[in-house]
């Protein structure tokens, strides 16, 4: 044999040329790409920390223009169009995403820093699925259980985060359009590129001008958008702090609001769990997208009787994660999205150290440039520590033990958040009982981070309100007399809660 001690996988980089990254991108208003009135921003490739492309941003006046265009499109075209016709456009957009999947995956990886494996196998195909799913609903709104012909709301103002730029755009745009609304949407400042490729797909689908408008810019533009008097519905995904501001600002305006905010998901492993697969689920729960996931399983609760063995297995598994160049097809954990986010995570890691949590990190080497962190585990992080309570939004897991199911429920629910939870047990009755007792919008049983357009997604408490996906997600974009969201009344049978 000619092999040395370790079998090193040769680099297997996806071609950056497939992304066809342009030097400069423009916002998309009223069916055309236009120069924005704001200063250009530079989007950084987190994998290298080098500039990727320039993006023209919009001014407050551009927001007015976009909202006016959306209103025009709503009253003159989109709200009058039959559901079947709207569905055709949505199917066309879905096919456009599928046709340009490889390009979109490369753009997303270059702009966001997540591994190509994830954009190729998750982000892009799931975005296409959301359009396909909602395309099917467009002519069947009367079957939602919301009356014979539920009416759209009007113009939706939407603000999305940087962790799943294309997928969040799909989550927001697809149900809004299917329900008959028009959209003004603002992507995050650090990740505007993939949605601007989507804009091209939308333009190529001949969607009537003004039905979808994409505004680039920072938080001030987002604030202008959600407070704009021409908006009928606001949907925001992002941090709890910003979500709280938005809710405060919108109080009394009569505008409908859905918020999908932070989380501190509990992943609960019982002693009878299929341990090797539970290890996989914990790894997926916190290291998928480097933990930059609002529903991340960032708190591991493991039954005391298996804790030691389980943590050994978990650490052994985390050691095998390949951290590095997001464009390499063999990379498991990519880059942190921005220098600012890296600094925020490091601040919390420091706080954890100071508060005395025992810290363990993978021994993997990190690239010399770009924003990277080693997968990290805090063992025996007590509930009072900041790392146990605050959302870290990075590849950092905290672990505590429990002895009884009641204790697990108490510890899991002891959080201001309530977005997701995972339960690992081979005992079906226990899984069902746990699901009923946990205060979280999404509960996974013997799996984690599974998304389907047909399943509602959303939170309790400081994780926000309203649902995205499934019939309940559509209801958030329809005029319903009573408030059907957050698991109420009519929708409880849809399998959301």
């Amino acid at each position: 044999m000619s092999l040395s001690d370790l079998w090193e996988y040769a680099p297997a980089p996806e071609s950056a040329a497939v992304g066809a990254i342009k030097d400069r991108y423009l916002p998309f208003i009223d069916g055309t790409f236009v120069e924005g009135g704001g200063p250009d921003l530079v989007s950084i490739n987190p994998g290298t920390a080098e500039p990727l492309a320039e993006v023209s941003t919009v001014s407050a006046a551009d927001v007015d223009t976009a909202v006016a265009a959306a209103r025009r499109a709503y009253t003159r075209v989109w709200s009058r169009m039959s559901g079947a016709e709207r569905g055709k456009y949505l199917f066309r957009i879905a096919r456009g995403i599928a046709e340009r999947a490889r390009e979109l995956a490369v753009v997303e990886t270059l702009d966001n820093g997540k591994p190509i494996k994830e954009t190729r196998d998750f982000d892009v195909p799931t975005a296409a699925q959301h359009f396909f799913y909602h395309a099917g609903w467009a002519d069947k709104l009367g079957h939602l259980g919301l009356g014979p012909a539920p009416a759209p709301l009007g113009v939706a103002g939407q603000v999305i985060p940087w962790n799943f730029p294309l997928l969040m755009a799909a989550w927001k745009i697809a149900p809004a359009l299917a329900a008959g609304n028009t959209v003004v949407i603002k992507p995050a400042e650090t990740t505007p590129l993939s949605i601007l490729v989507l804009a091209q797909i939308i333009a190529d689908a001949d969607l009537p001008p003004g039905v979808v408008n994409i505004l680039t810019g920072a938080g001030d533009i987002g604030s202008t958008l959600v407070n704009h008097p021409g908006i009928d519905k606001v949907a925001f995904t992002g941090s709890t702090a910003v979500g709280r501001h938005i809710q405060h600002d919108l109080a009394g305006t009569g505008r409908k609001l859905t918020l999908e905010l932070g989380g501190k998901g509990a992943n609960i492993v019982f002693d009878d769990a299929a341990q090797d697969q539970a290890v996989e689920g914990i790894v997926n729960g916190i290291f998928f997208n480097a933990g930059q996931v609002c529903c991340a399983g960032s708190r591991l609760l493991v039954q005391e009787s298996i804790a030691e063995e389980f943590l050994t297995r978990l650490k052994n598994r985390v050691e095998t994660l390949r951290v590095g160049d997001p464009m390499d097809k063999n990379t498991d954990v990519g880059a942190i999205n921005s220098a600012a986010q890296l600094a925020r995570i490091n601040t919390l890691l420091e706080a954890g150290r100071e508060e005395g949590a025992e810290i363990w990190e993978s021994s993997c080497a990190l690239p010399s440039q770009g924003y990277f962190l080693r997968p990290t585990i805090f063992t025996e992080a007590t509930a009072s520590m900041r790392v146990s309570r605050e959302e870290i939004f990075g590849p950092v897991l905290t672990t505590v033990t429990f002895r009884t199911p009641d204790e697990a429920v108490a510890k899991a629910n002891n959080s201001p958040y309530g977005l997701s939870a995972g339960v690992w047990t081979e005992k079906g009755s226990r899984a069902m009982a746990m699901a009923a007792a946990l205060r979280a919008g999404v509960i996974w049983d013997n799996t984690f981070n599974k998304f389907d357009p047909a399943a509602g997604f959303g939170g309790y408490k400081e994780s926000g309100f309203g649902r995205e996906g499934g019939p309940s997600g559509l209801a958030a974009y329809l005029d319903t007399d009573d408030e059907p969201v957050v698991g109420g009344g009519l929708l409880s049978h849809t399998g959301v809660l």
Binding site: M1, L3, L6, A10, P11, D276, T447
Partner: protein, 328 residues
């Protein structure tokens, strides 16, 4: 990865079980309690992990290294009723010199034949370093008396087989008669003498991953040198998720006892692409120390031709047709 093919004596010849595992095998009910106390295997999770690892992209030097390693791990097998002395001779020559155009190509690990053809294989392979493996114990069903199984084992070992591939009695295993299966494996192991014992679980008949894990531990407890997936006579034969479960079992066994045992998927591995997916699983599930022909084998025949063709492609930059490698 060391030059393992030539290295015969490994430290795990010392086979004393740790005291806590000795108790496990004292009687049928202890064995049952132990095997049923092993953590379950979630099928969705293990299949997802296997599918995920199968997307690894192995290119360039890593691919060539994998091809050479895979060739050195092949148990080149012929187990047909129509086998002839001539066919086994041809197979033996192919095992020693898989690519006559490129004599530096590694030889395979072993040639695997039916008992009556062991003397032929021994004669052809003498001094080559390629092992002779023989199936035994009423292969492929395992439905015979212990006396017959032991007699057949002794016969092949006396004829010069270095390795014995036995089958477990799946009927007994599925009926929950673990002690019966355990005793048979132990007895065959004793009859093997210096030969290494591969225990075929026939995972296609065990049906569940929980059963695969239990059968793996049962065989390891009884002294199996290798746990092997399949006879090749049942569909499905080896699959990636099943091999994941078995690789996890030998890894756990190593953590428990300090003894490093071996794994052999067999049947259904036909292409270089398949073989590399298995090597990735070995590397990332069991660990790089299993990337060694002593600890991992492929039970296969047609895969060797594809490996040889892909090896030439890697070295020469263009593809070769199947007419440029020998038909078995």
């Amino acid at each position: 990865m060391s030059s393992a093919v030539t290295k015969d004596e490994r430290p795990d010849t010392l086979r004393l079980l740790p005291p806590h595992l000795n108790d496990v095998t004292v009687d049928e009910s202890s064995l049952r309690r132990f095997l049923h106390g092993l953590p379950g295997v979630d099928p969705v999770g293990v299949e997802e992990r296997a599918a995920g690892l199968a997307t690894r992209s192995i290119k360039k030097a890593a691919k060539l290294a994998a091809i050479d390693l895979a060739i050195s791990m092949v148990d080149l097998t012929t187990l047909e009723g129509s086998d002839t002395v001539g066919k086994v001779r041809n197979l033996a020559r192919k095992a020693m010199l898989p690519d006559p155009e490129r004599p530096e190509t590694p030889r395979t690990a072993a040639v695997c034949v039916y008992p009556d053809l062991v003397p032929t294989a021994v004669q052809e392979l003498a001094g080559s370093g390629v092992k002779v493996a023989s199936v035994a114990t009423a292969f492929p069903s395992g439905r015979s008396s212990l006396e017959v199984k032991l007699a057949e084992t002794r016969m092949v070992v006396e004829a010069g087989a270095d390795e014995v591939d036995m089958v477990i009695d799946r009927g007994a295993f599925l009926a929950g008669r673990y002690g019966f299966v355990f005793d048979q494996i132990q007895a065959v192991k004793a009859a093997c003498g210096p030969a290494r014992l591969k225990v075929i679980l026939e995972t296609g008949e065990l049906a569940t991953y929980d059963n695969v894990r239990r059968a793996s531990w049962l065989a390891l407890l009884a002294g199996a040198d290798f746990i092997k997936t399949s006879t090749g006579k049942i569909n499905p034969a080896a699959t990636l998720p099943v091999t994941h479960v078995m690789l996890q079992a030998v890894k756990d066994w190593y953590a428990e006892t300090g003894q490093q045992r071996s794994v052999k998927p067999a049947g259904g591995i036909r292409t270089t692409k398949d073989a590399i997916k298995y090597l990735v699983a070995v590397n990332e599930v069991a660990g790089p120390q299993w990337l060694d022909p002593y600890y991992f084998r492929f039970g296969a025949s047609s895969v060797l031709n594809d490996l040889v063709m892909q090896r030439r492609t890697q070295l020469e930059g263009h593809y070769w047709g199947p007419d440029y490698v020998t038909v078995d």
